[in-house]
Symmetry: C2
Subunit: 345 residues, 2 copies
């Protein structure tokens, strides 16, 4: 079958790899209907250090179950399924607590003998605990929206939950990538009254407005902090969603958060080198919460809302390519010519 392999710095290629097979009795084989490229895939893509050998990549996909192991109980061949970006058992303490990303048996796609999501087929471990069926056909127009539940919409929701967003909340969203934009949609869904989106790209800001942003702040750095403060009473915003993971975005978050407020953060902190200065949060009782999003925990409720049309996160996809053109998709996201790229095997 065909799949994307990461070779090194700005070097991904589509190649023929062995078809996956069932290994564990709890596995399922999924034929990928739709996959996509994640902002976090750009971290290895931009890393000057090459892997020892080309590695499978990708962790967001929807597809059709082709085979199930003998211990799989809740899935049947032919089911259309959504794969959260990590697999998890569904039975351990952490899974039961809704923190499937800390599952004691779980893990990432594209590691060891688990293939990446950017390919024609994926062996999904712990299929019962991992995959979520959706009552739709493989040509359903809502498939791109459902695909966002693999990661970006769930991650935006995680930022909102951890920022303490609820009805009437005043919120600032830092980051106009797919996660930040989904964060706007998540905040609106949770009842936020005022949603400031920090975005200096007009095309992305437009999606943000459509998703519910009430204000867009185009400034950057200190000017962004001043602009956000000026939009309120000068004391900052109680609910800040950090959806970037860079030093500058954290500086902004700390600059705009209100005393007693919360920063819900989901940006992989690969670009944060200085460490969080506790003295900036101690005096003002700022809470820092978040991390890698347990997409599996949020999938059922978000799925319901996608199916009934309450939310449609699919506008975050602004480029669709066949799987064979994945390298062009990576380049487009790397060069910020695309927000998020769909890949169709």
């Amino acid at each position: 079958m065909r799949a994307v392999l990461h070779h090194g710095l700005r070097d991904v290629r589509v190649a023929t790899v062995p078809d996956p097979v069932l290994i564990e009795p709890t596995d399922a084989l999924v034929r990928v209907t739709l996959a996509c490229i994640c902002g976090s895939d750009l971290w290895p893509y931009r890393n000057p250090t090459s892997p020892d050998e080309p590695r499978r990549i990708g962790h967001e996909f929807v597809g059709v179950v082709e085979q199930v192991g003998p211990q799989v109980r809740t899935l049947a061949v032919g089911d259309l399924v959504i794969a959260p970006f990590m697999y998890s058992c569904g039975e351990c303490e952490f899974c039961l607590a809704g923190l499937q990303t800390s599952c004691v048996r779980g893990g990432f796609y594209g590691a060891e003998d688990v293939g990446g999501g950017q390919g024609e087929r994926v062996r999904v471990p712990l299929a019962d605990g991992t995959l979520v069926s959706a009552p739709v056909g493989q040509d359903d127009p809502r498939l791109p929206a459902l695909l966002t539940l693999s990661d970006v919409m769930a991650t935006g929701h995680h930022a909102a939950v951890n920022a303490g967003v609820g009805p009437g909340a005043h919120v600032a969203v830092i980051g106009d990538g797919a996660v930040g934009l989904c964060g706007v949609l998540a905040a609106r869904r949770l009842g936020a009254e005022r949603i400031l989106l920090l975005s200096s790209h007009e095309d992305r800001a437009a999606i943000g407005r459509a998703f519910g942003a009430t204000d867009v702040v185009a400034e950057r750095g200190d000017a962004a902090v001043q602009a956000v403060l000026a939009l309120g009473d000068g004391r900052g915003v109680p609910h800040v969603m950090e959806c970037v993971g860079m030093q500058g975005s954290w500086d902004t978050a700390l600059g705009i958060v209100r005393a007693g407020g919360s920063i819900g953060y989901v940006g992989v902190p690969n670009g944060v080198h200085e460490g969080l200065d506790l003295s900036r949060i101690f005096r003002r009782n700022v809470t820092i919460a978040g991390g890698v999003a347990p997409a599996r925990a949020y999938l059922p409720e978000l799925l319901t809302d996608v199916l009934d049309g309450t939310i449609d996160p699919s506008p975050v996809f602004d480029l669709e390519l066949p799987l064979e053109q994945a390298p062009q998709g990576y380049a487009a996201m790397d060069e910020r010519r695309a927000t998020k790229v769909l890949l169709r095997p």
Copy 2:
């Protein structure tokens, strides 16, 4: 009147200073019955940089109202009052939200024209919003216990609240100073089932056990982390209370906190120089919450429990001195010969 003045590095002196007078119509003058030395008073005491001129110091006291300004409505001359370690208006958004430490009109004792708490009398600004009356006489044996509500007991409680401690919780308390010990008491009061106290001082550990610690870990550094992990299932403790504010104590906190857990922190981060490494909390969804404790918010409920005997934090005081001997009290705490020192004017 007599009061403690901070002159410089390990140099505090008791001197005669002008009696305070009412300045604002919302002031009260309080004759101090009992004061004490805080671990945070040791930060300036140990600071090689001297203040430009000798400064009043101290922020924990109970006393008797001697005079009130014409706009004070809730206090009367003769009331026995407890002073939280910051003053606050009681009316602004932050005060109403229970975050009096961020009061827009509030501030610290020992700054500008507000005297320190280690003296015979204090002008208390915003008296209605700040002071809490207790229905006891000035010779009541519970006065030391009530004095802890000024700061250390309220601060230990803040750590517990921010660590998410509730009935049945498994908790680790880092720090066997007065705040850490009060944190143990607060965790037990909130219903914690298992309370690990990290303490390498047997006398302090004994107080911790009396306050409710179920286990004491005497190791330090990495050995402490391993010991805590070994006491459980190896995956750490969900509720960690950081009551020190040093690099080493934060390293321990990050090493023992369970995935999905919370670090409630109240140690003034004066000894944390590296900044919090977000990559250590991102993957495991660890929440960091806390800061300077709104003692005023917690005072009424804790006061009730002290008065009815539910809690008695007074064992944290292990040395009592007359105000004139405050320098000896500072030295005793600096040299760890005393946990917390009472000063009686």
